[in-house]
Symmetry: C2
Subunit: 712 residues, 2 copies
């Protein structure tokens, strides 16, 4: 036994010398704490589980893998109890001990996906749930508790997800390019599907199940109708079959003009009977391949995508037509609120609200309107989207971006949970104080029956899935927040670090601090003080505050409006009145430049360059200090990381080190470009404490980057 353990230990040690990140937070590294290890080994001698379904087989496989790696023991699987140290896993009536240790009310409360993990009176352990998937989630949580080296004594975890649709959106094209994807190419090997099921598909499903993600939309929101043809449906079916045991439902994006493109209908008018029939028939065809197909995700009337506007129909009419087609099969429609038009002469950030608010209550029950966290487009900082708390009679789901389109691609270390948390915890005041965004979408405040959260995926074919090692933390965080929007960024980071790297506090503490600060550091070197949308055009890589063009809402100058006098977009009641789309007292808070939180200053206000900010500095000086602060922040991250070499395998250490080097260079690039450009307006000197750019504005304005990832 001891020799075997030594074997496994050495095995794991040797493989720990080099880690490529493939195993994400499911490394199941050997337990480091000797006391806990012994305690675990005595408590988990025998696992009682009837692994008869695919999901329970998956759960058993995970236990086998996880426990042998973490505990150095091959667990015994039996169908009945043996002595002490039993872990029983089953639905409530599977085993007596389970029935005796979970009451009916608890079981009702945890719903279809929750689980109970507890120690019984006799010092055994049970995991129970109302469904196999609940059991799988419980097993994953159990293994994570061990991986984070938490004690099992008196353990009593009763958990269930607070939203229903917890889904990744892959902006993957059929040619395997990924829009705004920086981690290689699309995971979906369409050419070899349906015959070849890569192990990677299973590991993808495992990773998602481990954080409770239960849905995946496989295709780009800039949709391609071909995915709805039999050739592709066969391939989609193969993926759905591979994912099903892990509770991962498949969704597809629906191209609104598909009837015209695929079958030459003369129109795609949602009120046209022939069009309605076409979708009913097409949907039935999809369900003939995939009986539990989740439904459609739709981007319409936006950035060139066809939609109901083409036929003078409303968003609700468009969504409801699709909803009626999928309803008989139990499907849903996630209809994106990201609708805006350069010909509409209104502040872009107001348009989605203007479009959707009047339609509140007009959507079918199986429609859920998918709303980005902010009213513009995933900037490093945006105020929350006014539709949260704006629509009270409609199912709403959050759309977060996990891929770092505007936050440094896959070369910048930016932990996004603080961004997500900031949005979720913002008080909309729709029903008075405490009406956080989270509450407006999880059904608890407004009573919606359909709830959810979507994450625009940062996953691709790169070996470590997300390009940047720390990008994995954002996938992880998104999943945890979709499951429970009330979790804190720090506790999520704590979990992720311990499982992905080490439990050693000498590492955990500084890395957690680094992660928690990284978002603000990024805001500082890119878009401080409420600046937004000042990145390079097209590929969005690097700074572009000078970006001009024929389409104003795609420029930078439209947003910062820098002039020799002032800078910022007046969204107050005296300006575009975007503030008016919020409930009081939120509207007033933003409207008044003295109460408006400084991080949103230039989002809502237009101020002179010598405006005094809270610190007493002029706006110009403060801006310059913030940019410098961002650069300094990255350098501090580099120092921190360099000091932690002994805690990390050499491969991941070196890789993150290289990426931090890139991030530092790019933070300097951002600072220099923005300060030199805005200085042309402020006409003020760059303050002493800020490093002077060593190149000219002309140099920066002439940079042309070719073949950037994510932009094809």
């Amino acid at each position: 036994m001891k020799t075997f353990f030594l074997v496994i230990l050495l095995l794991c040690t040797l493989s720990a010398f080099s880690e490529d990140g493939y195993n994400l937070w499911l490394r199941y590294a050997p337990v480091e704490n000797a006391v806990l290890l012994q305690s675990y080994q005595s408590q988990i001698k025998n696992i009682v589980i009837n692994a008869e379904t695919p999901t329970l087989k998956a759960a058993r496989n995970e236990l086998e893998t996880g426990l042998s790696k973490m505990l150095g023991i091959r667990p015994a699987f039996t169908e009945t109890f043996k002595g002490v140290g039993n872990l029983a896993i089953g639905l409530p009536h599977a085993f007596e001990v389970i029935k005796d240790n979970a009451n009916a009310q608890e079981l009702q409360n945890i719903g279809a996906e929750g689980f109970i993990l507890r120690q019984t009176e006799n010092n055994n352990l049970i995991i129970t749930a109302n469904t196999d998937i609940g059991l799988l989630y419980g097993v994953f949580r159990f293994l994570q508790i061990l991986q984070q080296e938490q004690p099992l004594s008196d353990i009593n975890v009763v958990d269930s997800p607070k939203t229903q649709i917890r889904i990744l959106n892959h902006w993957d094209n059929l040619n395997r390019t990924v829009e705004r994807g920086y981690a290689g190419f699309s995971l979906w090997d369409w050419f070899r599907l349906p015959e070849v099921i890569h192990p990677r598909y299973i590991d993808y499903a495992r990773a998602n199940a481990s954080i409770g993600i239960n849905g995946t939309a496989l295709t780009n929101v800039n949709a391609n109708a071909q995915i709805l043809t039999p050739v592709y449906l066969e391939k989609v079916k193969a993926l759905a079959d591979a994912f099903r045991p892990y509770g991962l439902k498949v969704y597809l994006t629906a191209r609104f003009s598909a009837p015209m493109e695929l079958d030459k209908l003369p129109t795609a008018d949602p009120l046209d009977k022939q069009v309605q029939e076409w979708w009913k028939k097409k949907v039935a065809e999809v369900y003939s391949y995939i009986p539990d197909f989740g439904g459609f995700l739709v981007k319409a009337d936006s950035e060139g995508q066809p939609g109901p506007h083409n036929y003078n129909r409303t968003q609700a009419e468009g969504a409801n037509m699709l909803a009626d087609a999928v309803a008989p099969h139990g499907g849903i429609v996630m209809w994106r609120a990201f609708v805006y038009d350069q010909h509409v002469p209104e502040d872009r950030t107001k348009q989605a609200y203007n479009e959707f608010k009047p339609l509140d209550g007009k959507f079918r029950d199986n429609v859920i309107v998918q709303v980005k966290n902010g009213p513009l487009d995933f900037q490093p900082r945006e105020p929350f989207h006014p539709l949260f708390g704006g629509m009270e009679k409609t199912n709403l789901m959050m759309e977060f971006q996990v891929t770092q389109e505007y936050l440094g691609f896959s070369t910048h270390l930016v932990y996004l949970a603080p961004l997500y948390e900031e949005c979720l915890q913002f008080d909309t005041h729709v029903k008075g104080e405490g009406s956080t965004v989270a509450k407006t979408i999880d059904g608890s405040l407004l009573g919606q029956k359909l709830t959810g959260m979507a994450g625009v995926s940062n996953i691709g074919t790169d070996r470590n899935w997300t390009g940047h090692t720390f990008g994995q933390a954002n996938w992880y965080a998104f999943g945890r927040l979709a499951w429970n929007p009330y979790l804190g960024s720090h506790e999520i980071a704590d979990e992720w670090i311990k499982m992905t790297f080490t439990k050693n506090s000498g590492f955990v503490k500084p890395v957690k601090e680094m992660m928690l600060k990284s978002r603000e550091i990024c805001v500082n070197y890119m878009t401080p003080l409420g600046l937004h949308h000042i990145m390079a055009a097209g590929h969005h890589h690097g700074p572009g505050p000078w970006v001009d063009g024929r389409r104003p809402d795609w420029t930078a100058i439209y947003y910062h409006r820098a002039s020799p006098d002032s800078i910022g977009f007046d969204r107050t009641s005296a300006g575009s009145n975007a503030v008016g789309q919020y409930h009081e007292p939120v509207a007033k808070l933003f409207d008044n430049n003295e109460t408006c939180p400084e991080e949103y200053l230039l989002w809502f206000h237009r101020v002179p360059w010598d405006y005094r900010v809270k610190s007493g500095n002029t706006l110009w000086n403060e801006m310059a200090f913030r940019y410098q602060k961002g650069v300094d922040g990255v350098r501090k991250m580099q120092k921190t990381w360099d000091s932690l070499k002994d805690y990390v395998d050499f491969e991941r250490f070196g890789y993150v080190e290289s990426l931090l080097g890139i991030q530092e260079k790019e933070a300097v690039w951002w600072r220099n470009s923005c300060l030199l450009y805005f200085q042309a307006f402020s006409n003020m000197p760059i303050p002493e404490a800020v490093e002077k750019p060593d190149k000219t504005l002309d140099f920066y304005m002439n940079i042309r980057e070719l073949y950037m990832p994510g932009h094809h």
Copy 2:
């Protein structure tokens, strides 16, 4: 010691449960033969090497990895001998024992890249060479001998490469798509270069060094001038630095119109002084980044690529201009002979010879003309290119295609060494009998000073590098044949199977047989009896004997010329006289339909449908039987593979099994499509013994495949 060994054994055993193919033929699996294992362990106790240079460090790393995994011992590295069981590695004067065991003549013979590996009188082992790279090659060969479980007693390997430039051509685009690439996307992560050197780059270099490949052209022959700009040169330099210790030189493709594209010169005329100056300056710039830059690979005047023809200059004038620019830096130019033009009213397969033959002897010494194996374009079978033996005063190098553009992409198991061998061993008769193609290019027959072989790479980001597990064998085979064009397909297969899978003869024997037959099987289900170029247009996936179009030399009908009477392209002396480009007696052999080998029948001859082939069958019946034979051949491969489940890890077993399933379906697709189409001309029934197609010709002709890999 025993425990440690047990540890390693278990480590390797456990990891053998699932292999993803990443380790290629460098798995260093534990030695299976217990007697040999003991013998190895006693002979390799102590390794004497002064690992002071990057190359020797690389050699040492390889020994450490390979020996610990294969032998279960951590070898001891010292700077002097210890007792018995020493392996001394060094240049001839590094250690006495080396000097005493390798004589001057031998050392001169092995040149700059060869090595000597032998057992000394005192039962020690030595590896010596004239350069560090030679030592590295010797170390790899040594490790391969162990991996294949050959005895070390009396070992005496004296080997050196027979060609100089042994190079992979990556048709990689800067946006990471790979033209005719079916293994994912480009390895070169331009976006994260130069800062990030992925471990994969090092493993790529190791794999190439292990088979003696010493050059890599990083970019597509359909060239992009941007690679020659500083932004990209910095990235190329980073790759060159990573590859250098492994003896892998970097080359780039040169876009002929680069002076115009990059610096707005009004012309790219090779005789224009300004253009010549531009290239001299540009080349000097490249060498300032990469002092040992190999040189340029050029595709010109072909398929839309710019070239000397645009200025009424010859191929030699174009090549020489570039050659003069790189010569002062020690660089070379590989100038492709793949030149043809639809406006030239001549049999396409004759055009390259017509273009280049008159230029024989007119190329600079540092130019080498790169010639495809056959005169058309990498078909499953072609006669050898008449330029081999056609040009006697010019450096010529072979261009083989490793990626299976016309042989089933990365879903068909086709071992290409028989195709390569067939070409290399063809007797050109340029200097009488025995003037094999191999001899015409390795300098032994015609005295060229610059020799080489290029392989169009099948490598991409897929985890197993080549998409199909057995595609690795083709990369391997190409490398071995570039080193020694006289090796046999069977011995190469033997090496590869033993190192990639197992030494167990219960596996090796049937798999070797399967591999050796696979090329002919593919010819049979695609293009039997000399048929050629009848694949689908554009992406080249699947059959397309009906392909017509405005450009005849890109159709299928141009090549098979099927009519109700006959089929085949008359390339005899009565027809296009392509045969006339060969020396006698080759010309006569092909010219006479009775002596023309049947596998080239329809390449050189036009025959009626009822023409009697050697078997006595009509041409039509024989064609049908060959197609059926191809399908049967794939089914036999499936049976063979299925019977070998116990010898292979489950992951690779299942993957190859899935791919064989695809191959079988596609073989049927080819057979059905071609027979139904040609039947419309032959007007003869498909013979009894051939399965009847279950779909119509119309069905096959209407198949439209979208988003095929390799075609962007």
